[in-house]
């Protein structure tokens, strides 16, 4: 038998969703196999089944030719399957070695044998070419290193088959490259690897074979060498897609929005913004690139009035709105597509009509004094639904009953309808399918062309590069560089995102 893992006819149904339907999946020994699919296609569900987190409703799993029943992650581990989740599961104030041995500690009688733990960690790290200090504490090391710890943890438990769920989401381009090297080393040592991703570029760079999943069904399994990005995109989405955002050169005008020497604390009371300076002009898109957790969230919260600034200024249309309430800031001409549409963007139990006026609900014509005018509100919601092609039976259904893409379209529609001077778009396409991404990108560019300023914050470097006219890189609460999008390369941005400096850094743009 050549397959280390074989999943046959897997079906898994969640209330209202067929997450997997008769899925067949085979992993060869010593290969890197990508599971490619859009968000919600069912790739993670399939791997959670393999790792024992879910039980399939139908289907069989064979590991090394033997049929097995995986009831829990410990069954999976016993069969040599290890999984690194998208969100790491590490104890923040333990050391690397302590985290790696956790749950399978070497013991000296009843005491933890810490020396052996450190030794084991070193041995296993050296064997696979990981550069990591077993004695450093998790909260002090980078996200890229934390990921290595997660991989080592799986290897320490004897994993022969490694599942990595969206491993590149939190990494800089350079760290992604490093991960590629690590994975190649692992394969050389005889491990087999499954990568879950929706990023086409990485598929081409890292894998041997690709299995494409769409709406819970396997579309095809192909050899990476025999395919290309366009073909993969088409199989993933089900139609030809335009991977490039079409836009004319920007025609920027006067500066409409400024942030000056902004400082703010995060929720732990630590300085998260260390003197941010930014300017956005009418008619341009300023993108902010950066690895998650470098102050993006705090920056947007301060701008929109959800967090207090420690010092510094936020200025829109020459008006200082620092420390003003969210309501006053909305009314000053800033609208905001929030990074988490479920937490901030929508009141999920409210109807679309009620959601369509959030932030404008006390304004005419939606309200007259304290009485609301529901006829007008519904008319307005219908207009947005039509214009933005929100797929919904009507405007009375709860926002929660819509798909993520349609929910996001509703949020985008509402924020544009506020007729703002500046649109803040935070991760505007997170978790959306390619069709919705295309639409929202087009819409943001259209708003730019109408003369609005757009401040785009995204963790997807590709998105920032595709949309922005200028790119500011944020690192550790500071803007470490502003580049003209025409001159910005992935490599340069990557170096800045990791806290490095560019030798030839032009002080281009308005900094």
């Amino acid at each position: 038998m050549d397959f280390v893992v074989e999943m046959k006819g897997i079906t898994k149904v969640f209330p209202g969703v067929r997450a997997n339907e008769n899925v067949n999946f085979q992993l060869k020994k010593g290969e890197i196999h990508v599971l490619l699919g859009e968000n919600g296609a069912g790739k993670t569900t399939l791997m959670n089944i393999l790792y024992g987190l879910y039980q399939p409703d139908e289907g069989e799993i064979f590991v090394k030719g033997k049929k097995i029943n995986i009831k829990s992650p410990s069954d999976a581990i016993a069969n040599g399957i290890g999984m690194v989740h998208q969100h790491f599961m590490l104890v923040q104030n333990f050391t690397v070695a302590e985290n790696i041995v956790l749950g399978k500690e070497p013991k000296k009688s009843i005491n933890l044998d810490m020396n052996k733990a450190v030794e084991d960690t070193k041995k296993i790290a050296d064997a696979y070419g990981f550069k990591i200090d077993p004695n450093s504490v998790i909260e002090d090391i980078t996200v890229g290193q934390q990921q290595k710890v997660e991989i080592l943890k799986a290897l320490y438990r004897g994993a022969e088959i490694l599942i990595l769920d969206e491993p590149t989401a939190v990494l800089t381009p350079q760290e992604i490259e490093e991960l590629g090297v690590i994975l190649k080393n692992l394969v050389k040592e005889g491990k087999s690897i499954i990568l879950i991703t929706h990023k086409l570029k990485e598929v081409m760079g890292m894998s041997d074979r690709v299995t494409i999943i769409r709406r819970g069904k396997v579309i095809n399994t192909v050899n990476t060498k025999e395919t290309n990005i366009e073909q993969l995109a088409e199989m993933m989405v089900g139609r030809k897609v335009n991977l490039v955002v079409e836009k004319k050169p920007a025609n920027p005008k006067e500066v409409i929005f400024k942030v000056e020497k902004l400082e703010a604390l995060d929720h732990r009371g630590l300085l998260a913004l260390k003197g941010i300076d930014l300017q956005v002009r009418a008619g341009e898109i300023l993108g902010i690139a950066g690895v998650d957790g470098n102050g993006q969230t705090e920056l947007l919260e301060v701008i929109t009035g959800l967090r207090k600034a420690k010092s510094g200024k936020v200025i829109i249309n020459n008006k200082d709105v620092t420390g003003k309430s969210p309501k006053e800031i909305i009314e000053s001409g800033i609208s905001n597509i929030p990074e988490d549409r479920h937490k901030r963007g929508l009141v999920l139990k409210y109807s679309l009509a009620e959601n369509s006026i959030l932030g404008m609900h006390s304004k005419k014509p939606f309200a007259n004094g304290i009485m609301m005018n529901y006829a007008k509100i519904k008319e307005f919601a219908r207009k947005l639904i039509d214009e933005f092609d929100v797929r919904t039976p009507n405007e009375d259904v709860a926002a929660s009953s819509l798909s993520g893409g349609n929910q996001q379209k509703m949020v985008v529609a509402r924020e544009i309808a506020k007729d703002p001077d500046l649109i803040i778009a935070a991760q505007p396409t997170r978790g959306l399918d390619v069709g919705a991404i295309e639409y929202i990108h087009k819409r943001l560019v259209a708003e730019r062309d109408k003369g609005r300023g757009v401040l785009l914050v995204s963790l997807e470097l590709d998105e920032v590069m595709a949309l922005s006219d200028r790119i500011a890189v944020i690192y550790d609460g500071e803007i470490v560089g502003v580049l003209d999008a025409k001159d910005a390369t992935e490599n340069d941005l990557g170096i800045l995102m990791a806290g490095g400096t560019l030798e030839s850094q032009s002080k281009g743009g308005v900094q």
Binding site: T44, P326, V347, E354, S362
Partner: protein, 357 residues
């Protein structure tokens, strides 16, 4: 099409309360069988006859049921307003109680023209309730202290402060109560002086309509409901959360206070020393829960709880312990709570399925 949908949604929201009422009655019958050593069918017959006669079956008992319904309308609404904002106002009891005392004190003042006097009593009671709940709301909004703990403490302050006033400065010699309020401060008993039912009933029904409009037709209601469902989205949408918490508590307390004033000026006509809580505020929690915080639903759940309370006398006369009434109420509540838990779990599961994609 649309009508069908509405009927379906109404039916589905009524399903759980109805099932819970039926099951509660059924369980109660078992206890009746046990208490009286009779067969099941005999038990059904005895119990339902007693409850029916004691609540709706006779003119006297029906009117007395309505007397119970009056305070429950107010306390039910008061709790619903707080629930809708995501607050748990246990203090409706205390707000109700302090307003009885304040209402009685204002009612005793002689020489005020009739209509004005009643209105003064109602306003004084409402303000007392607003103050009592407003303190809790203010503390919650400004320092983040828990409204449950604070409102429970306010209940005790209301209890002992009321008793001090009733037994101290405003005591009627020789009795554990205040003097009767002036006739000018009494709400009109529209079925004559033999019956305690009064136009407070209509004030309560008017409040139901007002709160319904408030929730679903005003910007204040829009904001309060948004804060209750998702604070983060509300905050993002420019809604001032602190203001809404204080506002919701003040409105909740105001309704409870109005209820207390109606109780004293329409039903009791004086404030009696309280050995323990009146229970109307706590029953209001159950009334609001059973009605799922829907103001219209509160009419029906107040009627049910009022009927059960009134029938305790006729149950005793039929040699059935009156605790059966509490048993039925408790079982209904357990079921309604179970419904919330069930929905919560279902939502979690659904979310889990989506998140893991």
């Amino acid at each position: 099409m649309k009508n069908k949908k509405i009927i379906k949604s109404v039916a589905s929201s009524l399903l759980f309360p109805l099932i819970s009422i039926i099951v509660a009655m059924f369980v109660a019958v078992i206890f009746v069988m046990w208490a009286k050593h009779i067969s099941f069918f005999k038990g059904v017959q005895v119990m339902f006859k007693a409850i029916w006669n004691g609540s709706f079956g006779r003119k006297d008992s029906f009117i007395e049921t309505l007397v119970y319904v009056i305070p429950l309308l107010f306390t039910g609404l008061a709790n619903a307003v707080a629930f809708k904002t995501g607050l748990f106002n246990i203090g409706v009891e205390g707000e109700f109680m302090i307003s009885i005392t304040v209402g009685a004190i204002v009612g005793i003042i002689p020489g005020i023209p009739p209509v004005i006097h009643v209105i003064l009593v109602l306003i004084a009671g409402t303000l007392a309730g607003v103050l009592w709940a407003g303190i809790v709301g203010y503390l919650k909004a400004k320092v983040g202290s828990n409204e449950v703990v604070n409102s429970i403490m306010m209940n005790y302050i209301a209890l002992y402060f009321s008793n001090y006033l009733i037994m101290g400065p405003f005591n009627k010699k020789g009795l554990a109560q205040t003097a009767d309020i002036q006739p000018s401060a009494m709400l009109w008993r529209f079925l004559g002086d033999d019956y305690r039912v009064n136009i407070g009933l209509y004030i309560g029904l008017l409040m139901v309509v007002l709160i319904y409009i408030f929730f679903w037709k005003t910007t204040w209601g829009y904001e309060i409901r948004a804060v209750g469902i998702n604070q983060y989205a509300a905050e993002y949408g420019g809604i001032n959360i602190k203001k809404n918490i204080i506002l919701a508590m003040a409105i909740s307390g105001g309704i409870a206070g109005l209820g207390g004033a109606v109780y004293v000026s329409g039903i009791q006509h004086h404030a009696i020393q309280m050995v323990s809580f009146t229970g109307y505020g706590f029953d209001g929690i159950a009334v609001a829960l059973l009605a799922k915080n829907n103001p219209i639903g509160i009419i029906f759940s107040a009627l049910l709880f009022g009927a059960l309370n009134t029938s305790s006398i006729s149950l005793q006369m039929a040699n059935i312990p009156k605790q059966i009434v509490f048993l039925i109420q408790a079982i209904i509540l357990i079921f309604v709570a179970a419904d919330y838990v069930y929905k919560w779990i279902a939502e979690k599961r659904k979310k889990g399925a989506l998140l893991n994609e």
